[in-house]
Amino acid sequence: MRPEEGTIQSRARAIETLFGLIPDNVPVIICGGFPSREAFRIGDRPTHFYMLGSMGMAAAIGLGVAQAKPDKKVVVLDGDGNVLMGLGTLATAGALRLKNFIHVVLDNEVYGSSGNQPSYSQVVRLDQVAKAAGYVNVERVREREDLVYEFRDMLGKDGPSFLLVKVTEQAEDVGWVPLEPAQIAERFRKAIE
């Protein structure tokens, strides 16, 4: 089963759209691999936490930030392989019920950073798992205008929210994030103080 008909966006296009909607002061945790690398190229901000390693932990980091900063919306940009690896964190997010937590999953149904091996999101409905886990707002989108509408809605609503964005396998020709990990952490910490 390949991404259904009507998938029109690449992940980079979806990230670009999201960055157009996310206010400057909102912390964004971005999972490792291509999502972080593309995000850095599309629009670096000190409020971005680019992950390397610790696959599957993006949402957990986001939950920590969201608990420490209850007055700020916190956005996690995750991938399908990452979510599947840390699937238990959907339960934690549902149970903690943090109003300021927005979990966006860029779902290309493959492990794109390692050669496009298929992921189980081709057959497992991650949005339904999130719904069952207790996320308050759950949406699944393919088209750009739906992404804009639903994400804007989630920015204005109490969460936790889960937005599954079906994207193509296309990856941009981008290099590594040229920042030291400790530097990424330190400027993020200062930027969200």
Binding site: P27, L63, G64, Q67, A91, A182, A185, F188
Partner: protein
């Protein structure tokens, strides 16, 4: 034996204000006290707990994670590629199951090799004792602030009161 209330108070007095983890019987008294004080948010796995602690530290909290030593294995990749790599400190309060082999079989290997494992990945550690608890916590705070990496405090059975009466 150290009462769990005293121990939790000492942690709070040292500045710790964010607690998560996965339970163990040795840690049950500490967790019960933390929950009474509404300071504890459970995690489902130890790697999730250390990642949540890193997020909390990024948001300005001073985090501590409770786990049994089996959880060190579960969280090893996150500890090395997140907490150590990005220099996100937390206190790891680790129960020492399988100490001297006197425990259930599943703890045998980790019980014998835990301190070598911590040394190998360069995580500073110290074993809590009732006689030196003040010095132990002082060492924790100093190492945490100076190194900005996770610091492990190892708890053997019977040092802090476990399951509450």
């Amino acid at each position: 034996m150290i009462e769990s209330e005293e121990f939790v108070q000492a942690l709070q007095d040292s500045g710790f204000d964010f607690f998560t983890g996965v339970p163990d019987s040795i840690l049950a008294g500490i967790i019960a006290t933390l929950m009474e004080r509404r300071l504890y948010q459970p995690a489902v796995r130890e790697d999730e707990a250390v990642a949540m602690a890193a997020g909390a530290y990024l948001g300005g909290k001073v985090p501590a994670v409770l786990m049994q030593n089996a959880g060190l294995g579960t969280s090893l990749n996150t500890l090395t590629s997140l907490n150590l790599l990005y220099r996100q400190p937390c206190l790891l309060i680790v129960s020492w199951r399988g100490f001297e082999g006197k425990d259930a079989p599943e703890y045998r290997v980790m019980g014998q090799t835990m301190t070598q494992l911590l040394d190998t990945v360069r995580l500073p550690h110290r074993t809590l004792s009732e006689q030196t608890v003040t010095e132990d916590l002082k060492w924790v705070a100093q190492t945490f602030m100076k190194e900005r990496i996770p610091v492990a405090l190892l708890l053997k059975h019977g040092v802090v009161r476990g399951l509450q009466p």
